[in-house]
Structures are given as structure tokens and as C-alpha cells.
Point group: C2
Chain length 406, copies 2
């Protein structure tokens, strides 16, 4: 499931340069400020958190995209501070960084797309970011290693950088798509998206912003909107898709191969976030089927993915399927308890609401010791279904999030 | 907050006898089968889980109460097996226990109220319970120590028995109310109630079943429906209120003192469940105010009470109030981020959506080291409010629930 963080040769979309530096926001002293610059104005589509509390950069992004008509030249992302619950001062700080970046890179202020991730409620040290801009400018290069540095710089509790890429043939021309992301906790994107997940996807296809938007919404719905680590929807979730057009190949929202490639990249990034979930020891693919509607299937998947009792049972490889039945029962989906069937991988566990006659507990326990496994639940009501990816809940998750870190 | 499990003199409602024995369902060999018998037919009101998967005894209880017109003679509760997801065989097993109990105690089968708590999906060993009935019958007595044994027998992951009591003067006659309960995990009652919580409340007042029902619904709404440990709503939650009439004092749904006393008993029991939550190290009272409606206030309380990030921060006494802001933002309640204020106890933390100017982090950290503390959030929108009680999320909770115990 894990992709290498370094792109292979010729995977980097043309028309973009990347750099990352240490601006002094992370206590660790690691890379914490990343910038991507488009050689010329790129088409942009963005999705933001559904949380009613939105961090300052998301508010600024919306203003800038509105003013630019969906065009972006500079993406500027800091880790170590979320610039959320910071009031007017937070908006001012964000705009000051954008203005300085615009000056440094010779673009308009509203062509800058800022993002922040880190602790909530602490003033953004804008000066540190502004002071780092000249070094960023010197380091910009269209290199896979710089793309990798970008992915490393935006990490918070992530244990590794995350990226994915694809090539697509568009009318005989090679088009590249490459995405990177961060996210390990506060992950339950509702795109209008999910918990501090930051995702940046670049392509050198030529596409209008409106088509990009259609493509991104469709791809996000079955990738980022189908994962959860802890059910906490962040104030800072952002997915940005930029198209430089540098490949010379024009496409639109209806090119099947491009659509599929974009979805593949999004799904890979989404799964990498779950695989790097805080404290994770098991990655679980939920397959819900036979629901009255797809929406009902999603209700069941989310109830299971957010149940502390289910997630802790997974941590112990405990085949305690009763907790799955209980979560299904309170999910709000239409169900008939006597029609529910459950499989762990290929092994039937529960049929018609009761334990299978030849239930092999040790076999189930052994299967759940795998790092990745599948839980399939058939409701026997209709044709609604969904796939959903989530993680277990471990003592290490608690340790990471209980540490007195402020 | 914790009440003694032994009732003081003359606190036991008259007209009931209690007993508990070791029937061999708990691996520990502890008391696991408890029975209460009313000397004559008692008025009854019951609330059950809103989970669409309901355990066999809940289905049997509904049938029996319907048939008896809200009258109960025998309450029979086992721990060690939930008799849920056990299909027709589970219903048959439950009815066999009821029939045997009816014969033993000389009552009708539909006057027996069964309950079960423990593992889901494993057949109920009805024979063990039936075999234990003669010993139960020998031990029945109207004694506080037997009441206490009842409370001990129904424990699962609870660390201590839980009970509460009150006296009320009804037209010059002393009336007694005494309740007991169990519950430590899978606790998010939605009464139509919450996660395997079992609550039994006895009174010797004389009241019609319809009035009892009105009183119980009102009392549960602001007690059992205002607590959550893990957000998992059980398949077995049950609250039963029985009135023997043995005091000779007649009352109804409109007696203010009786209503208040019943609410006090319910609130005490509900708080005791949170105080004994699995792995708990902090008990938190949430006070939400200034919401558009009471329902909105409850949305905010539940989002906070179910947020793993908030609950783990509490485990570490971490004053990371940004997580409260984030949970408030995704709660679904109407909010204005710039109007939110937060207090930890008496200390202001956040005002108008931002950190207070003189934020004293060490003082906040010290306050959150208390075992019990209060978090108050004012939304600044309207007059809706609620109180809600919940626990932190600790590594010990994970350990308890990740143990491969099936």
C-alpha cells in the first residue's frame, strides 16, 4: 500500500518548482516550510474542511481563489502551527506571509495559496516564515528530491512522507499527475473534507478550473471522504489540485483515463494516511454491502470506524464481532438484525445475525493479526454499498495525544 | 460523587426481596446471577436501548410488559453473557429461564423481567441459570446486604458496585427509592437508552405504571441520557423502575418531591457509571451554554465527549483547548467561531474564539490534573444549554478492550 516518497524519473509534473526549508516553527528543527511555484498561472481546484471552525489560511484561500478565478502561482505551507482560533490577528499574519511571498516570487498576492498545520490557538510566527522566503526562492527546482522535501516539511505526527503518481496518455501526449499529503491524526475528512489532512496534487495537463473542480470532487468522494483515523474532523483540512498545462495536452472533466488516474492517486494518498495513522498497528478495509442505500452503507462504515470498542478489539486482534453488530445497530442505517452477515477476509463469522455454526475462533484471531485485513458486512436489505478504510485504536495513539505538549 | 454500595438502615424499599449467586457464567467465579422478587405485583416502567440490534432479553421484556400491563414480580439478571446476536435460540433460552423462574417463585412467566450483560454472540448457558434458581430462592431476603450482592453480581468491567437512594415524604408517609446499576464501557445510553448500562430502581410508593413511565422518562433524559464513556450505544441497555406500593403511600407523576428524589437517584447512578468508566483517570462535567437550542448544546457536548483527541488530551491534563474548538466546529450545532468562550473551572481560556490575553497555561494544566473538573463552553448564540458527564480516554481503556478475551 505504501508508495515511495521519491518519484521515479519523469513522474514530476512539468511547470512546477519546489523547495522546503527549516523556518524554526517545529521544535524538532526539521523542515517546516514548503513552497511550490508554478512557472505560469495554474488552474486550481480546492476542497476545504466541513468543520464550521475554519483556520485562517482556509478563509484566505477562499478569498484568493475567488479573486483569481481559480488560478494559483504559489503554494506556501507551514507545519508546526495551525493558525486556527487566532482571530483577526491570524488572518493578518496569513496575509502578510502571502504578500511577502508574492513579492519574492513576482506574483500577485491573490495568486498565493497558503496552508498551515500544527497546534491550534497559538499565534502564527509570520516573521519566521517571511524571513525564510529568500532561502526558499534560492532553492526552488523542478526536481523529484525537492518534491520529496516538500512532503517531509509538511509532516506533523506523520512517521513518513506520503506521495503517489500516475501517467496518463491524453491524445497521444504523456501527462503526469503527482500528489503528496500529510495526516496521521485528527483524520476524518469531510470534503468539503477531512481532519488535518493536507493534500497537494500537481498535473501538467491543461484543464480549466471548473473541470478540475468536477474531477477533484468526484475523486475525493471515494478516497479522502472514505477514510477515518479518529473521527475528528480538522479545522485545517485542505486538498488542492493544480494543473500547469506544461505538457501541452488539453483535457477536461470527461476524459476517462485522466479521471481514473486522478482517482488512483487520491486513493493511494488516502490509504497512506490511514497506514500512517497515529499509533496504528492494523489497517482495516471495510466493505459494506446490501444496504438500503449507499448513504446507509456509509453510516454503517463510519459507526464501525469510529467505535472505540471495535477499534480497540482490532488492536488486540480480538474477533469480538459482537461489537461490529452493536455499532451496526446504532449507526442509524436501516437494518434487520436477523439478516446481517459478517466475514473476516474470506472466513464467514456471522450469518443471519448469529455466529456461524462452525465458527473457528483461532483462525479468526490469526487473520486479525495481519497488519492489513478486510471486514465485510452484508446487511441483506438492498443494493447500497461502500468501501472505507480505517485504523485500530492503540495505547500508542493515546500516548501520542495525551502527551502534555503545549 | 461516589455513593456507598451498602444502603443505610431503612433505605431499602419495602416489598422486595433480593439474592445473588454464582451460577458459573463469569470466568472469575464471582457472583453472576441476581434476582429481585416483589412480594406482590409491582408497577413497572422500563426504557431500552435505541440500538436497532436488541438483545434477546429486551425483546422478551417488551413482550412480557405488554402482556402483564406493566406489572413485574421477578427481575432476573445475569452477567457474563449478553444473549445478543443469538437468534431464535437466544429468545428460547431466555424464555426457558423465565419459565423456570416463574415456577420457582410461583408467578406467571410474563411477570418475569430478564436482563443479560456480557459478551455478545455467544449462546446463553440457560441451564446454569436454571440450576441456580433453587439456591436463589433459599437466599431471598429484604436485606440491604442482599441488595448489595445484587449490585455486585451484575458487574462486568465495573470496579465497584453502584447504588443510590432517597427518602421522600408523600402525604406524611415515608417512601423509599433505591437504585443500583452497572456500566463502565459501551456507555452512551440513548434512552430509549445507553450502552450496556443496566439500571434497576425500586420504590415502595404506590404508583400506576403509566405515571411511573412518565417519571422515568423525565428522570432518564437528564441523567442516563447525559453521560457517555465511549460513544458506543449497547444492544442491552435497560433501565427498570419498580414500585411495590408497600409503603402504603399513593403518588403519581406530578408529585414534585418524589419526582426530584427519583431524578437525584438517577443522576447519582449515572455519574457513578462515568466515575467507574473503563480506564478512567478524569471525570469531566461539560457545561454548554449560549447555544441556539438545548438540542444544539447537546450536539456540542456529545461531539466533545466522543472526540478521541479531546479525551486523550484530558488523560494527559493537557490544556489543548484547540481540540475543543475543533469538536465544537464539527458538532453540527449552529456556531459563530468568533463568539466562542471556554473556561476550565473558573479560569477563562478562550474568549471570542481566541486565546485569552493572559492565558496561564501552567494554571490550566494544574487544574486539569484534578480527578474531576469542569469545562464550560459558551457559544454566544442563544439560550440553549445542557450539562453532560464524560470520562477521559486512557491507555488503560485500550488495554481493557484490546485484550483477546473471547
Amino acid at each position: 500500500m505504501i508508495q515511495t516518497s521519491l518519484l521515479p524519473e519523469d513522474a514530476l509534473p512539468r511547470g512546477f518548482r519546489f523547495a522546503a526549508v527549516k523556518a524554526g516553527l517545529k521544535a524538532s528543527g526539521n523542515l517546516d516550510f514548503a513552497v511550490a511555484v508554478a512557472d505560469s498561472s495554474a488552474s486550481a481546484a480546492a476542497l476545504f474542511t466541513a468543520n464550521r471552525v475554519k483556520a485562517a489560511p482556509l478563509i484566505v484561500d477562499s478569498r484568493h481563489l475567488h479573486r483569481s478565478g481559480g488560478r494559483v502561482r504559489v503554494v506556501a505551507v507551514n507545519a508546526g502551527n495551525a493558525n486556527c482560533a487566532t482571530g483577526e490577528a491570524g488572518l493578518d499574519a496569513c496575509e502578510r506571509v502571502c504578500a511577502a511571498a508574492a513579492k519574492t516570487f513576482g506574483v500577485e498576492g491573490h495568486e498565493v495559496f497558503p496552508s498551515s498545520t500544527g497546534i491550534i490557538g497559538v499565534p502564527l510566527p509570520a516573521g519566521k516564515l517571511i524571513d525564510a522566503l529568500p532561502k526558499i526562492e534560492q532553492n526552488l527546482a523542478p526536481e523529484a528530491s525537492h518534491f520529496s522535501d516538500f512532503a517531509r516539511a509538511i509532516m506533523t505526527t506523520d512517521t513518513r512522507p506520503k506521495s503517489a503518481h500516475a501517467w496518463v496518455d491524453v491524445n497521444g501526449t504523456r501527462v503526469r499527475i503527482a500528489g503528496l499529503c500529510k495526516g496521521a491524526g485528527m483524520i476524518h475528512p469531510q470534503l468539503v473534507p477531512h481532519a488535518t489532512m493536507l493534500v497537494y496534487i500537481f498535473t501538467d495537463a491543461a484543464i480549466y478550473p471548473a473541470d478540475l473542480d468536477t474531477l477533484l470532487r468526484a475523486a475525493a468522494e471515494h478516497s479522502f471522504n472514505r477514510i477515518s483515523v479518529d473521527g475528528d474532523t480538522s479545522t485545517n483540512d485542505t486538498v488542492l489540485l493544480l494543473a500547469s498545462g506544461a505538457s501541452g495536452a488539453k483535457t477536461d472533466a470527461h476524459h476517462p483515463a485522466f479521471k481514473a488516474a486522478l482517482e488512483d492517486v487520491c486513493l493511494s494518498l488516502a490509504k497512506q494516511i490511514v497506514a500512517d495513522a497515529e499509533g496504528v498497528t492494523h489497517v482495516v478495509e471495510l466493505q459494506i454491502e446490501g444496504a438500503a442505500t449507499d448513504a446507509d452503507a456509509l453510516l454503517v462504515a463510519k459507526a464501525i470506524a469510529h467505535s472505540p470498542l471495535v477499534k480497540t478489539a482490532w488492536a488486540g486482534s480480538d474477533p469480538n464481532w459482537g461489537r461490529l453488530i452493536a455499532a451496526t445497530g446504532y449507526s442509524g442505517a436501516k437494518i434487520d438484525p436477523d439478516r446481517i452477515s459478517i466475514w473476516f477476509g474470506a472466513q464467514p463469522i456471522c450469518t443471519q445475525g448469529g455466529r456461524v455454526a462452525d465458527f473457528d475462533e483461532q483462525r479468526a484471531h490469526a487473520y486479525l493479526k495481519n497488519r492489513e485485513f478486510t471486514v465485510r458486512i452484508a446487511l441483506g436489505i438492498g443494493n447500497g454499498s461502500c468501501r472505507f478504510w480505517t485504523s485500530d485504536l492503540t495505547a500508542e495513539y493515546v500516548r501520542i495525544n495525551a502527551e502534555y505538549s503545549t
